[in-house]
């Protein structure tokens, strides 16, 4: 019998080690798996490679990605909009790395990773600093440049310039869903869907916090936003979710 429902978050997260790559759903604070992140912060993991659209705002007492950054658990952040002032300070000091990825490219790279594709050509960022090898990923002391984004391979197709982007295959994904069933089928709610299904598709192991679980059956087939094969563990967090 298939049953991906777990009694608590802690057991689902034991595979995540220092240095793991973890994709996390959410846009700003919308659809961020706050409870899973809190549970992850209870563990002694450092040096994570986090793949998420935003870096949190860096506010006092903030949950979510901002908490991971504040507790200095992140070595590298692949995102489109880091925002977090403290993380920027450490970035310019050479303590952490930022891989800046256009938002649509970030979404598509996760989907490509989850779809077994080897890469894709996109017009996004062609002719910009995010494609020409000048964007600094990591500074050294005194502001020297230690690492930049690689210069992207470009190709003219039907008269237009495209750049080659690679798939993302993070070790883990942390995902927030609205509804789940024991097969791991998921349904999201409005703008909280955003990167969540894409992170789930891409990861080697996907852990979901769901507002509600269909304990007495399964979700209707046509109401499912992401089918169960992309999901490994589901934890119910009804009542815990910040609203």
């Amino acid at each position: 019998m298939i049953d991906k429902i777990r009694p608590g978050a802690v057991d689902c997260l034991t595979g995540i080690r220092s240095g793991s790559s973890v994709a996390i759903g959410g846009f700003g604070q919308t659809g961020v798996p706050l409870d899973l992140i809190d549970a992850l912060c209870d563990r002694d993991v450092r040096g994570l490679h986090i793949i998420a659209n935003n870096g949190g705002r860096g506010l006092p007492g903030e949950r979510g990605i901002g908490r991971l950054l504040k507790e200095n658990r992140v070595r590298r952040l692949s995102c489109s909009f880091p925002v977090n002032p403290d993380f920027f300070r450490r970035y310019f000091a050479g303590d952490v790395e930022i891989e800046l990825v256009p938002q649509g490219t970030l979404a598509e790279r996760l989907r490509a990773g989850g779809s077994g594709l080897g890469g894709f050509y996109t017009p996004t960022a062609a002719g910009t600093m995010l494609a020409d090898g000048r964007f600094v990923v990591r500074y050294g002391e005194g502001g020297v440049v230690r690492e930049t984004l690689a210069q992207k391979e470009s190709r003219v197709i039907d008269g237009r310039t495209y750049v080659l982007e690679s798939p993302l295959r993070p070790d883990f994904a942390l995902v927030k869903a609205h509804l789940a069933d024991r097969y791991g089928n998921l349904r999201f709610r409005l703008g909280a869907r955003n990167f969540n299904p894409l992170a789930a598709m891409a990861a080697g192991c996907t852990i979901v916090q769901a507002d509600h679980i269909a304990h007495d059956g399964s979700l209707p087939p046509d109401d499912i936003h992401l089918p169960g094969p992309f999901v490994d563990h589901v934890v119910e967090t009804a009542g815990e979710t910040v609203r």
Partner: protein, 219 residues
């Protein structure tokens, strides 16, 4: 610059842009002053606002309690209108890159007289690009809404952008607090001055070269 303060307010600028939207258009609005557009309903015109993380049919800010799952590109609470749809971020950018956005409206740090747009990074500043590069690569039209001058009083309409580009040659129109410009056959063209603003004043506050083809108060 005090001169710039005599032009349109942010709300007036949003109203001015809203006047040019066409009934039925699907429109993405970027962070900053473009986020005021969904507040500017025009009788007889139905505009579908697209929010890049995965919503269509975004409306004004809520009157009552906000729904944390319904936010705009700036993470502010908004509402959904009739016809709204939700989807994941890859489909959202398929809409953008696939040419299904009639328009995207973005803020800008600089616009070049060649149509280049710079809106994501002040050199030496904190980087953050969001969906801007995807949007300018895919939308059928790109309009810029911005103040005519930057905070230091320097013209934002320049011969060439000195800041890193969001996209080369992508801008179709520029709406500032002082004027409306349009790229006509690739040539930056002044089409309209804000009420009380003279063409001479625009000329004094604009570094970019441009043609003049005024057509009164509205395009």
């Amino acid at each position: 610059m005090t001169t710039a303060q005599q032009g349109l307010t942010r709300a007036e600028l949003a109203r001015r842009v809203a006047d040019d939207l066409v009934d039925g258009w699907c429109v993405n609005v970027g962070i900053g002053v473009p986020l005021l557009l969904p507040e500017q309903a025009t009788p007889g015109r139905e505009i579908v606002y697209h929010c890049e993380h995965g919503l269509l049919g975004v409306g004004p800010a809520p009157q009552g309690a906000p729904d944390p799952d319904v936010t705009d590109a700036g993470k502010n609470p908004v509402t959904l209108v009739e016809g709204a749809a939700s989807f994941d971020s890859s489909l959202s950018f398929a809409i953008a890159r696939g040419g299904r956005l009639d328009l995207c409206v973005l803020g800008a740090l600089q616009v070049g007289e060649n149509g280049d747009l710079a809106n994501w990074l002040v050199p030496g500043g904190n980087p953050g690009v969001g969906g801007a590069m995807d949007l300018v690569a895919g939308a059928r039209r790109v309009w810029v809404m911005m103040t005519h001058l930057d905070k230091q009083g320097r013209p934002k309409l320049r011969k060439r952008c000195s800041f890193p580009l969001t996209g080369p040659g992508v801008v179709d129109r520029v709406y500032t607090d002082l004027a409306v410009f349009e790229f006509v056959d690739g040539v930056l063209t002044l089409r309209e001055c804000a009420p009380g603003v003279t063409p001479e004043r625009i000329a004094a506050l604009t570094e970019a070269a441009y043609s003049v083809d005024l057509r009164g108060e509205s395009i």
